[in-house]
């Protein structure tokens, strides 16, 4: 999120940290599914948690979202998160409710 044509000084470090974290957060759920070590429900929980964490990792280390990011970008991101939550959550709520009312 740089403001002039040239990016501000970039170093390799965040990318390497990001890569390491992303690899870990990918490996854990994949391993769980491959081995079936935990119950289905727990595994799902781990998958969701790892995905959410990994999204944050990507935003932080690859997209460099942080305190220096222009405020309007952050507002847009937050607004998008809220709306997407409403749209996806609402859709699932509505559709599963309808499903239970109709497929008997």
């Amino acid at each position: 999120m740089e403001s002039s044509g040239y990016p501000v000084e970039r170093t390799v470090k965040p990318y390497l940290i990001g890569l390491a974290l992303a690899v870990t957060l990918t490996a854990i759920p994949f391993a769980l599914v491959a081995t079936g070590a935990l119950t289905k429900g727990t595994t799902l929980g781990v998958i969701v948690a790892a995905a959410l964490l990994q999204i944050v990792v990507h935003l932080r280390f690859f997209l460099h979202i942080g305190l220096r990011t222009p405020r309007e970008n952050l507002i847009a991101l937050a607004f998008a998160c809220v709306l997407i939550f409403i749209m996806v959550g609402g859709t699932l709520w509505i559709m599963f409710d309808l499903y239970h009312r109709m497929m008997v």
Binding site: S3, S4, L19, V33, H58, N73, V88
Partner: protein, 199 residues
């Protein structure tokens, strides 16, 4: 506008790059909404196999892992290109862009192979609601990656021919946003489609 008084255009100002980046960011948010709805549709339709094959018998953990690895590495490679760019090193930028391109292209190859295999197995998108949703969701991501590849190719050309000028650098930064964004979408794809499907 009258053509009477046009001199050579001046270089864009820093604010103009910022505007462009912000505009592009808004586009990504809008695109995220598209993906979100495709995800919601997929989640609703995973069960609608209409007697056809379910995900469990179609997906392969190894392939999904391979695709994930390629995409993640290409994202990192793009990061290195950005580092080279900020250091003003033209040839290193190009090399890392090429690496990014190659990894991304590898991802597309794997995905096309996967789709082809599913079609061969009698699981094309027109087989069931579930498969329609699967192909559309994953295919939309794949389409984005392909567009990203085309864009990388264009940018390699620009770096080679124009050098790391300010406009080129600004375009590369936007390309970076796009490429990393697609990586995030992929994380959600494997967490929503492949892993639960194989569980």
């Amino acid at each position: 506008m009258t053509a009477s008084a046009s001199t050579m255009s001046p270089p864009p100002t820093a604010e103009q790059y910022e505007e462009k980046e912000f505009g592009f960011w808004l586009y990504l948010m809008s695109d995220a909404a598209i993906f979100a709805l495709l995800f919601a549709t997929y989640m609703m339709m995973v069960g609608n196999t209409a007697g056809g094959l379910p995900g469990k018998e179609l997906f392969s953990l190894e392939r999904a892992a391979g695709e994930t690895a390629l995409l993640l590495l290409s994202s990192t490679a793009f990061g290195f290109a950005a580092v080279a760019l900020s250091a003003g090193e033209r040839s290193r930028t190009v090399i890392w862009l090429l690496v990014t391109f190659a990894l991304g292209a590898g991802f597309i190859c794997l995905e096309v192979g996967e789709f082809w295999g599913m079609i061969q197995e009698g699981a094309p998108p027109e087989r069931s609601g579930f498969l329609s949703a699967f192909f559309t969701l994953v295919g939309t991501h794949g389409l984005h990656v392909s567009i990203g590849l085309l864009w990388i190719a264009v940018m390699i050309g620009q770096v080679l021919f124009k050098g790391l000028t300010a406009p080129v650098a600004s375009r590369l930064m936007r390309l970076g946003l796009f490429w990393h964004f697609l990586d995030i979408i992929w994380v959600i794809i494997f967490s929503v489609v492949y892993l639960p499907g194989l569980l």
